[in-house]
Every structure is written in C-alpha cells, then in structure tokens.
Amino acid sequence: MSFITRGFSGRSRERDDRLPPGQTLVHDFPVLSAGPTPEIDTAEWEFTIRTETGVHRWNWDEFMALKIDDVDTDIHCVTHWSKLGTSWRGVSLDTLFEEVETEQEYVMAHSYGGYTTNVPLDELLDGKAWVAFEFDGEPLDPEHGGPARLLVPHLYFWKSAKWVRGLVMMDQDEPGFWEQNGYHLHGDPWKEERYW
C-alpha cells in the first residue's frame, strides 16, 4: 500500500545510497532512552562475558589495554534518522572473544540501568561490532551511552546498547527490552526490520 500524498513534494532530493529505506539524514545526534541516564564511574566499571563455562571480566584499565580500533561507520536509528560517516574508537568484539570459548550462538547484551538487547553472535564478530568509548574524538557522553556502549552499526541502533556492562551467551535467541516492546527481533535497516 502506498500512494502519493496530496501537496507533498519533499524538501530535498539529496538521496544518498548509503541511506537505508525510510531513513532521513541528520546532522545532530538524537537521544533515545527509555529511562534516566545512569551515572557510571569508570573506576567501578566492569565488562563481562558469561558463557556456559564461566565468566570473563575486564575492568576499565584492562579494557583500555586491549587493541583499540578506529571505526568510521554510518548509524541508523529505527526512529528514521541516520548519521553518515560517524567516527568512533573502541574494542572489537573479535578481540574480546579471542579468549572466550563458547558453543552458544546467541547473545543478550546487558546494560547499567537494566537495558537488554539480543543479537546473534555471528553478527557481532568478523569486524561487525565494538564496545565503543569515544565518539568524534571525545569520550562518549553519558546520554549517548558513555562510558562505553555496544556499537553494531549494521543493525538499527537500539541494538547498540548504551552503558553496556556485559554479554550473556544463550543457546537460543530471546527478545531483549525493546524487542519485547514491539521492536523486531533482528533489526536490519536495509530490510526495514523495525517492528514485529
């Protein structure tokens, strides 16, 4: 179902083939959060990966000692905005999983403040995801997920959990917070996997 809207011509035709369907380019950085922004001290911060065999832990200093990537990428929010060519620094999930053995194929990301989101493990590896702590050359602002957030740019941005504190491996895919509240289990912006 689609029809022409009477009287609408659209303001611009600067369509960019980097924009997925239904997305609009923005130059600011909108904030979407379901609750207050938590305050997290890096002295208390910890990142964990829990598997069927145990828990791997990194504190902030240990995390900063890992190999750090510069990431230039486009990001796409389910609420129809995209930002192109954003620059981040963070630790690749490939680096984190180098020392993690697991047979489990699904991940639930958990955040300070209680947010969760689910992603299949193979969509986090092979250079597709990071735990990012810098945006545009600055430490990541708390309202954008600082001190550290997941960055999974090939999926809608609600998958890039702000204030991430750890990953829990799962045998089966299960819905996280927004996925239980109406958002798609997977979230590919190129297929417009927005809502269920």
């Binding site: 179902m1 689609s2 029809f3 022409i4 809207t5 009477r6 009287g7 609408f8 011509s9 659209g10 303001r11 611009s12 369509r15 239904g22 609009t24 600011d28 950085f29 909108p30 904030v31 979407l32 959060s33 379901a34 609750g35 207050p36 922004t37 938590p38 964990t48 829990r50 609420t79 129809h80 639930m108 958990h110 955040s111 300070y112 403040g113 209680g114 947010y115 969760t116 989101t117 602002d141 309202e143 954008h144 609600w158 959990a161 702000k162 504190r165 750890g166 990953l167 829990v168 799962m170 299960e174 819905p175 996280g176 917070f177 927004w178 239980q180 509240n181 109406g182 809502y195 269920w196």
Partner: protein
C-alpha cells in the same frame, strides 16, 4: 537506550526477560483520512484522523506518518498520539520544526479530506493503561502517577491524563507542564477541564518565557526546588513519565533521581538531538 523496568541488572546472571510482553495491538500500515484540522498553538496543529483498520491504541503510544511525493520520494516521521482507546479516531498534535520537512507539511498544508499513510500503533513501554495493573507496587498498592511535560512533549502525557479521566480511574495523577507562554499550551481547554473535573488529577503549569497576567511567579525554566515542590514526593513511590526535548528530559530525570526517585520508576521519551 535504557530500560526502566525491573530486571536482573547483573550481566553475570542468566538473561531475564526485561518486562512482560505487552498485549498492545499489533502495528500495521493503515490509510488515515484527515477529518479535522485546527491550529493548536501558534506553531502547532491538531489533526484528527479516521484510520481505516486501526486496532485502537494505548495512551502514550506513537505512530509513523509516511508522505510520498509524485516522484516516489518518501519521508517518514514518528508522532505521539494524543488519544487512546479502541476507536479508529486518532488525534495528533504536531509542532512545526523550523527546518523540518514533514512537520511543516502536516501543520500548514494538510486539510480535511486528505489521506495519509500511517504505521502503528507503536511502542509498548511509554504507555499507561487505566486498569491499575501497571501501577501496582511490589506491596500491591496503587502507585500514583506523575507526568512531566516539556513543550510538545505533553502529547502522549495528555493521552494518559485523558485515559485516566475517561476510565474514572482513582489513581492519583499529577501533571507538571513546562511551556513557553500561555499561547503555547497544548490541549489547554481539555487540561483545565480535566483538572476541574477530578480530584484525582492535578495540573501544574510552569511558564518559561511569559506568564498569564497575575501569575504568582516570574517566567523561567523550572528549577530543582520548583520541581521538588510540584511532583509527587519520592516517598509515595510514583510512576513517573517524562517527555520533552533531550535537554529537558535529561535535566528533569537527573533531578528526580537526586530527589530520591527510583530510576526504574522513571520512563522517558525524548526528542531532538544534542
């Protein structure tokens, strides 16, 4: 994004469902007929839509509006819904963004009889339903509800206040509404009527640029002390809904936490960038 529901916050624990799966109506694409348009404020219009096949919506939900140009170009934006219930009649109140593409069209161009494509209802977290189930505290008492609106952020909160009144729900409801001038108040008549009609709904207005004549306080942004005085105290464990610009919501939510409100009891919806 964060989550204000209660769940295990330790990632070393097994994955716990974030919240019960909501039983809100399923979203879909619908054709909406514009049945009424009127100017809500100097910069905003109220649109009444009759939405074919609309399954009804809960108070606080939103929808997407998709506009299509003759050459196939489309633009889609999300708008909060100012109405709720099983009806196919859906009310929007749209603020015109100076550099916007969709909102100027909806505010200035749309007229009665026009057709719009809408997708919804959307969102199942920033909602309030008048059956009381949502507002039970662990102790089983009905929790009061505090609404905090900044500017056009009042739209989903108005839907909640109206749903509360329509259901004769006795849950104590209080709305704190920060707005630039008296002319900028959305749903002014309806809000005054709700406040006048029910002891269970209280409205507090804060004017940031210009007050009505004889207003007891000068115009200005809400400050922490004024917020503390105008919201249900943390000791009463209210469920709090905050909607407004990013800056407004960040400030209000952080003050609420300083005032002792539980982060898990504060639900937020923000618009705009940083």
């Amino acid at each position: 994004m964060s989550d204000a529901s209660s769940l295990a916050t330790d990632a070393s624990e097994a994955a716990t469902p974030a919240a019960p799966v909501r039983t809100v109506p399923r979203a879909g694409w619908h054709t909406a007929t514009v049945v009424a348009v009127h100017r809500e404020t100097p910069t905003a219009s109220r649109l009444e839509l009759d939405v074919d096949g609309w399954p009804g919506n809960a108070a606080g939900q939103h929808l997407d509006v998709r506009l299509t140009a003759p050459d196939g170009y489309t633009a889609t934006r999300s708008y909060s819904i100012a109405s709720s219930g099983p009806s196919s009649r859906v009310v929007l109140a749209v603020d015109k963004l100076p550099d916007g593409e969709v909102s100027p069209f909806l505010v200035d161009e749309v007229r009665t009889g026009d057709l719009l494509e809408v997708h919804g209802p959307l969102g199942a977290f920033f909602v309030w339903e008048p059956d009381g189930r949502r507002s039970l505290s662990p102790a089983g008492r009905v929790r009061p509800v505090q609404l905090v609106a900044g500017g056009s952020g009042v739209v989903p909160l108005f839907a909640m206040a109206q749903a509360h009144a329509a259901a004769d729900d006795l849950t104590p409801f209080r709305m704190l509404y920060s707005v630039r001038t008296p002319d900028d108040v959305y749903f002014a008549d309806e809000l005054m009527a709700l406040a006048a009609a029910s002891d269970a709904f209280r409205l507090d207005l804060v004017y940031t640029r210009r007050t009505p004549d004889g207003w007891p306080t000068p115009p200005g942004r809400i400050m922490r002390e004024a917020l503390a005085a105008a919201v249900i105290p943390a000791a009463d464990r209210p469920l709090v809904y905050v909607c407004g610009s990013t800056g407004f919501v960040e400030q209000v939510a952080s003050w609420l936490i300083e005032l002792g409100h539980d982060a898990q009891s504060i639900r937020t919806e923000r618009f705009g960038g940083t």
